[in-house]
Amino acid sequence: MVEKKVRTDISEELVLKKKKFALGSGWGVFLVLVVECIILSILSPYFLKVSNIFNVLKSISFIGITSIGMTMLIITGAFDLSVGSVAGLGGMVTAALITKAGVNPVFSLLIGIATGIFIGFFMATLVNKLGINAFIVTLGMLSIARGFTYLIAKGSNIFIKSKGILFLGQGYLGKVPVPVILMAIFVVIGSLFLRFTVFGRYIYAVGGNERAARLAGIQVNKIRLIVFMICSSLAAFSGIVVAGMLGSAEMTAGTGLELDVIAAVIIGGTSLSGGKGTVIGSLIGAAIMGVLRNGFVLLGIPYEVQVISIGVVIILAVVFDSLKTRRR
């Protein structure tokens, strides 16, 4: 028995070494980010400037905050294609309440987030009670939420009049942009939640083997419901932050966000098949993409190439993910 264990140890070590630079295994992703930063700092003198670093972080905060909820959802084996639209809707609802209805900004913020919670509740219920595929439900919501956003906007973007919301998006605490601080806070909370709480453990169990989890006494539906609500509410919140960043809630805000978020989550090592993943990993995944984009801008690479290479990175990430899963 001991002999067998040693042999598998060695072969595992070798495989790990081979895959050291492969995206996906904890330190592997971090290494990719470090290598990326090193290369970029060599290619451009502006990269390591403090203001640039914070800019990069600020630019990924939209994806970063949303990816926390998405990470949890993907770990349970589902995913949410509507986060971009929900983000747009959250921003629009809050802006409309403040600017058009004169509602107190704090309440408007809360109602914006509540919109997200409600949408998450709705989608999860369809999945839980009617057994409809999450892909289909969230795909439908993508359009529905976007439609409502246009409805509220009535054809034009809505300016944010509240200093508080503007601070959320444009403010600084010392040298650090507020969105970055918010992202950091949520990442820490999300990480601790997944790692150290019973509920977090249940999230991993449901994704690892739903049937076994149910037979072990876990209330799978309840978990799915709560995670959907977390994901949508974080999406709504990040939409509000972005509206603050831009100074207005745009009708098209968040378009395409879901793909970037899912890419970040997968690059970061969360498996599409469920049961594995970390919030920090997703943050690193978002950073990898953010640094790449930043690099393109600093180096003056045309936009078309940027778009193509982001796509390539996403495909590579999914390929590595499936190779990892197949090995299991």
């Binding site: 509920f199 169990a205 690892g208 989890a213």
Partner: protein, 506 residues
């Protein structure tokens, strides 16, 4: 038997899977135009044999002779070309296509440079084939609209379209009603008259007695013998199926525990029904007693206990736990009442393969252990280590992925999961499935020890020696009903098999 009369001969077929012998020196002869049944318990080697005939598995040694010509191995295509065809239990029809398209599925484009054959011609040819089987199924009907029995006839017609000389049917009556079975037997007789041989694999001995000309028995991978059906009775066949020496499995319980009357009833189930899985189940389980539910695969035992455990809802019935009536709506509730279920097929239903040993072992007790919702790793480690020691689980570290453990040790992790919840009524489905002999007896000892501590244990097992060696009481199920209850002291493998395959006496 003269060589002329033999259509298929198997010569010393051997097959091993790792350390398990699936078939050992199996030699069989199938005659022309006969209906030849192959019987044996679960694990006797029937499936492996069929897979070899099918070409899905290659024997380690041995060969076949089909119509006198020797073959060392086969594959599905060549076996059809040679003239034998297999009809599996799970029918292999394309549900969304029509009957005639299914019948000629492999022939649709023959000779017409890729274009589909004349529709009218296929229709007529199909009609002919079905008629020859005494069936009036409409060839243009879509398969998914047909009953299982009619689908089976379509499968037979499909097999016939290649003019086979031998047809193998695997558990063909499993999903059929009495009337439909009669229809199938008519078809079999028609085929025999046309000179086609039939190999009929089945658990249902009364049917085997009725339709077959000869019966061959497999046991633990060995070929036991072939008898002429007319010359024997069903008990002779059962005797051949189970005639194993029970000495190998010493009765693990040394105390005569027939004095049940004194023990408290902890679980009472009455009129428990969920069609079509099980009907009108009534039984009690007692404190500190090991009660085993025996029966063939498919008799409804797993469904019964998964429903009892709250995983699914019953149609009707009552449960009393420790004397109080309850409606169990979820596994969580069942566990709260002190009931635990260790499912069969742990790879699918039990083990969470993405998690470590520690996480797998602790998952069921986390909410009880950490009321605040925050996990304290030290406490978790302590309780997991306690059970690793108690159950003697062999591992390097509890952080290892659970998939790195052997089957027996994985099963122990599952047991640790259940025991950590301080379960009072333990239901365990096929406790030693896929586990080597050494680990098997360890698990048996653990169960007996648990029982002595007062836990009521209900075991679902198809492993007869296991059943006899550790049970105090045995309930036999067949086709969803309880057909008998035996005290361990009165039970023999023969009696259990009889009940499991034939049903209620008289």
């Amino acid at each position: 038997m003269e060589n002329n009369n033999i259509i298929l001969r198997l010569n010393n077929i051997n097959k091993r899977f790792g350390g398990t012998i699936a078939l050992k020196d199996v030699s069989l002869e199938i005659a022309k135009a006969e209906c030849h049944a192959i019987v044996g318990e679960n694990g006797a080697g029937k499936t492996t044999l069929l897979n070899i005939l099918n070409g899905a598995i290659i024997p380690d040694s041995g060969y076949f002779e089909f119509e006198g010509v020797r073959y060392d191995r086969l594959d599905p295509k060549s076996s059809i070309l040679l003239g034998f065809n297999i009809i599996h239990q799970e029918l292999a029809l394309v549900e969304t296509l029509s009957v005639m398209e299914n019948i000629f599925l492999s022939n649709l484009g023959k000779g017409n440079s890729g274009f589909v054959k004349n529709k009218k011609q296929i229709f007529n040819d199909s009609r002919e084939l079905l008629k020859s089987l005494g069936s009036d199924i409409d060839p243009s009907e879509i398969v998914e609209n047909l009953s299982t029995s009619k689908k089976q006839i379509v499968e037979i017609a499909k097999a016939l379209s290649s003019n086979p000389k031998l047809l193998i049917m695997d558990e063909p009556t499993a999903a059929l009603t009495q009337a439909e079975t009669e229809k199938l037997f008519e078809v079999i007789n028609i085929l025999k008259k046309r000179g086609i041989s039939i190999i009929f694999v089945s658990h249902r001995l009364n049917e085997v007695m009725r339709i077959s000309d000869r019966v061959s028995v497999l046991r633990d991978g060995y070929y036991i013998g072939t008898v002429v059906t007319k010359e024997v009775n069903v008990n002779d066949i059962i005797g051949m199926m189970v005639g194993r020496k029970i000495e190998l499995y010493q009765r693990a319980r040394t105390d005569q525990t027939d004095l049940n009357n004194g023990k408290d009833v902890v679980l009472e189930v009455s009129n428990f029904t969920k069609k079509p899985y099980f009907e009108n189940i009534n039984f009690v389980a007692r404190k500190g007693e090991i009660l085993t539910f025996s029966g063939l695969v498919g008799s409804g035992r797993t469904e019964l206990f998964e429903t009892l455990f709250g995983f699914t809802e019953p149609d009707s019935g009552n449960i009393k736990v420790f004397g109080k009536p309850f409606k169990i709506n979820s596994p969580k509730q069942a566990m709260f009442l002190g009931i635990g279920l260790l499912p069969e097929d742990r790879k699918i239903k039990g083990i969470i393969s993405t998690m470590s040993v520690r996480e797998n072992a602790s998952i069921a007790v986390l909410s009880k252990l950490f009321k605040s919702g925050i996990i304290r790793r030290k406490k978790e480690n302590d309780i997991v280590n306690k059970y690793v020691e108690l159950l003697r689980i062999k591992l390097a570290s509890i952080e290892d992925p659970v998939t790195s453990l052997s089957g027996g040790n994985q099963q122990k992790v599952m047991l640790a999961r259940l025991l950590s919840t301080e379960v009072k009524i333990l239901i365990i489905d096929e406790p030693t499935q896929g586990i080597d002999v050494g680990a098997k007896s360890e698990i048996h000892k653990l169960l007996i020890d648990l029982a002595s501590k007062g836990v009521a244990i209900i075991i679902i097992s198809s492993d007869l020696p296991e059943v006899l060696s550790i049970s105090e009481r045995i309930i036999v199920m067949r086709s969803g009903s309880i057909v008998g209850e035996l005290k361990a002291s009165e039970a023999t493998e023969q009696k259990i098999m009889e009940l499991a395959t034939i049903g209620l006496a008289g």
